[in-house]
């Protein structure tokens, strides 16, 4: 390490120490900022001690990273990883700065890092990864300029710097077949149905053009969104042979999923097909790094707490499940999860349109609320600053009788007024914060919790 990097590392570490141990503040951006200012190359110096794996994509990277870290920890003594949200350059530098390598470690330590799509090139340049994990690319309404192909181009710029790095790819997502990359590849995906069907994705699906000739892809089956076993009818293009595959879905519920990967039964303590993709990615990385199936199963079983996104709260005699919604692909996955609920339930949907929610509410029309008619849903209510948009959306979806709660101060009585014991609350980001502060005030949850 150069003298300059040593100084930068020291400054970064002491800033972290003061923030963390003296001021008791979390966060890793400031130490990274200071250290980078003193030495722009500090991260590449720090990274020399690690085998680095980068995880990127628009959805699922946080959970995939968390779960993969648990899987890798079954075999590796030191696995450092960045906390959720710290996925830009400075946050990652902070993570590298504050990590310590045990003195008598006989293994080379691993750094498993979640990277924002737009930062892949800059981060990769410094960290020289041995592998990239690609989860998926969906259009996010928050990212106004983000088109899926330009997002993927940004990721490609990072990958192209390292043609020897292994790509661990969600092969069910056709966009990742673009770019003609020479890298060694590990493909993961779903093979839970025979490759016999011939269908198109629903109209409202992004990213359904064949990478070979821009014809519309056909599918043998679709898991969700534009993901599945795709093929072209105009040429030879098709999904590649999978290295690791979900071979069977045994039981899907809102609170756990039981499935087979390559014939081996595994379980995760959270619902939602998208979480099975996250688990499959963790499995693929684990197997690539030599973790055994039994160790992976152990990691999945013993780490229920990584699945923090979906929160269960008791409000009086109601069992409340709180879920975040922010874009159509995510909201449709929440709906699909609710459809696996065998008990009667109600839905309280809360919509705000502040910057952190996405100021355009149009996405609710791309969300398939109509499909909830095939579920145990008994009652619908809407709330939040933009309750009217949701009210009309749900009315036009065939739910004419809805209570409305423009003011979330009345949310506790809204929950109590729902006719079923189980109530789902689906809320956008700032509506979720307002909801949580009401639940805190009423004493149903503790004051800590969701990070801003």
């Amino acid at each position: 390490m150069t003298v300059r990097s040593k100084v930068a590392t020291m400054v970064g570490r002491s800033t972290y120490f003061v923030l963390h141990n003296v001021l008791h503040r979390a966060g890793s951006a400031l130490p990274g900022k200071l250290a980078t200012k003193l030495d722009p190359d500090v991260m590449s110096q720090l990274a020399q001690d690690y085998d680095v794996i980068l995880v990127t994509g628009t959805n699922g990277k946080t959970l995939t990273t968390a779960l993969t870290a648990r899987v890798l920890s079954e075999k590796y003594e030191t696995v450092i990883t960045n906390p959720s949200g710290s996925n830009m350059m400075q946050g990652i530098t902070g993570t590298m700065l504050t990590a310590r390598i045990p003195k008598n470690s006989h293994q080379r330590p691993l750094a498993l890092l979640e990277v924002d799509e737009a930062n892949v090139e800059a981060v990769a340049k410094q960290l020289k990864p041995i592998a990239f994990v690609l989860t998926n690319i969906f259009r996010d309404q928050l990212d106004r300029y983000g088109e899926i192909y330009t997002t993927y181009e940004k990721i490609l710029k990072g990958i192209r710097l390292f043609p020897e790095a292994t790509l661990i790819i969600n092969a069910d997502s056709p966009i990742f077949m673009r770019g003609n990359l020479p890298n060694p590849k590990v493909y993961y995906g779903f093979n839970h149905e025979p490759a016999q069907g011939d269908m198109h994705a629903p109209h409202n699906t992004d990213g359904i053009l064949s990478p070979s000739d821009n014809s519309v892809l056909h599918y043998h089956f679709i898991t969700y969104g534009n993901q599945g076993d795709y093929f072209s009818v105009t040429d030879e293009f098709k999904r590649p042979q999978l290295t690791y595959a979900v071979t069977k879905l045994n039981k899907l519920t809102p609170t756990f999923s039981n499935f087979d990967i390559d014939g081996q039964t595994l379980q995760i303590e959270i619902g939602g097909l998208y979480n099975i993709y996250n688990a499959l990615a963790a499995y693929a990385v684990g197997r690539f790094m030599g973790v055994t199936v039994d160790q992976i199963r152990h990691a999945f079983e013993s780490n229920a707490q990584v699945f923090g996104r979906q929160e269960a709260v008791q409000v009086g005699d109601k069992d409340v499940t709180i879920v975040l919604i922010k874009n159509p692909v995510g909201a449709n996955q929440v709906i699909d999860m609710m459809k696996t609920d065998e008990q009667p339930f109600s839905l309280l949907a809360l919509l705000n349109a502040n910057y952190a929610d996405g100021i355009d509410t149009s996405w609710i029309w791309d969300t398939d609320f109509e499909s909830l008619h095939d579920s145990q849903l008994q009652a619908v209510a809407t709330g939040g600053e933009r309750y009217k948009d949701l009210y009309v959306r749900l009315k036009m979806a065939g739910y004419p009788d809805q209570a409305v709660y423009p003011d979330l101060k009345k949310i506790v009585s809204a929950i109590e007024a729902m006719p079923t014991k189980h109530v789902y609350i689906a809320a956008t980001y700032t509506a979720m914060l307002q909801l949580r502060s009401q639940l805190q005030e009423a004493g149903f949850i503790k004051a800590t919790g969701m990070e801003a």
Binding site: Y149, H203, T205, L209, D366, V392, K395
Partner: protein, 235 residues
């Protein structure tokens, strides 16, 4: 089975599908159902011909730059039929990219030119480092109605003298941020930059378009009286 049927073409619905444009069909169906009218929606995309006599309404939504270029390359196959449909008074709603592609051409942010079908003569320039984003309100000069929506576009569209804007901008940017117009009306074609989507938030407009559709298809029925009884959603 509903008493009446109308056929809707969702033009390139699998490629031009950003920002909830599909909601326009949901809204149309919601009001139609109250008149005992069922909507039969067909996706008309790269692999299909557009048969102009089959449809009573066409939705042509907006897409991402990449898909819009693929659609532009395919459009010459369908353009003659779309033009015949428009000239015959066929009702059509073009949103964002769909609105732009009905005209002469549009420029992407990087300056590359994407060819439209020249059904009408409006054209769309770019604004390399900016976008018009935000809530928008316009006033329809023909009836004084105020329409609400959300605009999000890079392109600046300029109308030809045969076209008139759908409304005058009260709040927001509109077609180009210069002439105070938003959208276009030509025969029974409506163009707009409104997301929201426009038919979900502006029930009066939706019911007027629905009336046009139904009068063309079932001229013997007294639609106006029945439509007057429907409560339009407006927000």
């Amino acid at each position: 089975m509903a008493k009446y049927q109308i056929n809707v073409a969702h033009l390139y619905g699998d490629l031009m599908n950003t920002y909830g444009d599909y909601g326009n069909i949901v809204a149309l169906g919601y009001y139609a159902q109250q008149l005992d009218v069922a909507l039969n929606t067909t996706l008309v995309s790269l692999e299909n011909d557009f048969e102009e006599n089959k449809y009573d309404f066409v939705l042509f939504g907006g897409g991402q730059d990449y898909e819009e270029q693929v659609v532009s390359a395919d459009l010459p196959n369908k353009a003659p039929a779309i033009k015949r449909y428009i000239e015959a008074g066929g009702p059509l709603l073009g949103v964002c990219g769909g609105f732009q592609l009905l005209g002469q051409y549009f420029l992407l942010a990087d300056g590359s030119r994407v060819e439209g079908i020249h059904a009408m003569d409006h054209y769309t320039l770019n604004q390399p480092d900016d976008r018009f984003i935000g809530n928008i309100e316009i006033k329809d000069p023909t009836n004084g109605d105020i329409y609400h929506g959300f605009e999000n576009h890079q392109g600046r569209t300029f109308l030809d003298d045969k076209e008139r804007p759908l409304g005058q901008v009260l709040k927001g940017h509109g077609n180009n941020g210069e002439d105070g117009g938003e959208g276009l009306v030509y025969k029974n074609v409506y163009g707009t930059y409104f997301h929201g989507p426009i038919f979900t938030r502006n029930g009066n407009l939706t019911l007027r378009v629905l009336e046009t559709i139904l009068k063309r298809r079932y001229p013997e029925v007294a639609w106006a009286d029945q439509i007057a009884k429907i409560e339009p959603e407006y927000f």
